[in-house]
Amino acid sequence: MTHPTPADAIQPPNPRTAALLAWLVPGLGHLYQGRRAKGVLFMTSIIGLFAAGMVIGEGKVVYASTLPFTPVRSYVYDGWPFLCQSGIGAVAIPGWIERARYLADEPSMFGPTFYPPVSADRVGANPPVSIDESQNRVIHPDGAAKRRYDLGFRFEVGMVYTVVAGLLNLLVVYDAYSGPLVPDEKDGADDAPDGADPATKNGDRSPPPD
């Protein structure tokens, strides 16, 4: 009976399907591959971080820019947070749908969470207004400015949490597709009995469900 090589030990099954599932929901690709421990770990960490960001930001920190895609530089400058948050498919898909609905003058489909704030060209005669601590009216140029003003530092924290969650999920997608970035030959190999696949021994590499 031959021992598995390190290269064999990090070859995850069904990498493309798993990568797609991992993008849609963090950790789902690993659960699909039977790598339960890592799936639960990624799901808890990334969804927890994203949810915390949404709570801190009162659900107003995830929205796609309504600027046209060209010039690219302007779009990226305005919409880079959502591009990062799009590392999670369950965020990206409703976000892009809500952007399209906003540009088509249609109401929100998923509630106010992913719907873009009113842009400056649509403010018209009713600009967004906040009331400060001295009960003075603060007139904002657009909805995004109002969100930043109302939430203050919490807007930044919520934005950072959700952006980092999206970026971290890109690492998870890669891991679901091709295994750990830096294969560690010691992982499980020392503890596995003769002839046993160390990953299988850990319960992390059972075949995917049909």
């Binding site: 030990a9 990090i10 790598r35 421990a37 890592k38 770990l41 990624f42 960490s45 990334i46 927890g48 971080l49 915390a52 801190i56 530092f153 924290v157 950072v160 949490y161 980092v164 969650a165 971290l168 690492l171 998870v172 890669y174 891991d175 295994g179 750990p180 970035l181 830096v182 560690d184 010691k186 992982d187 499980g188 160390p198 990953a199 850990n202 992390d204 590499r205």
Partner: protein, 65 residues
């Protein structure tokens, strides 16, 4: 130093971010859960030490400003 004390309340947002980044980063480099947790712990400690060192350098620079 007074500036840092005034910002202490903002640091409450750091642990969750640190924990998530450490766990996911370590998780993408190992397959065994014990190795992941060990790597995440050391990664988190070194991140805190690194950030503290940067804060100290900034404080020293601010002192001589």
């Amino acid at each position: 130093m007074l500036i840092l004390l005034a910002e202490v309340n903002r640091l409450v947002y750091a642990p969750l971010l640190l924990a998530a980044v450490s766990l996911v980063y370590a998780g993408t480099r190992h397959e065994d859960l014990r190795s992941i947790l060990r790597h995440a712990g050391s990664f988190g400690v070194w991140t805190v030490v690194f950030m503290a060192a940067i804060a100290a350098v900034i404080e020293v620079l601010a002192f001589f400003q």
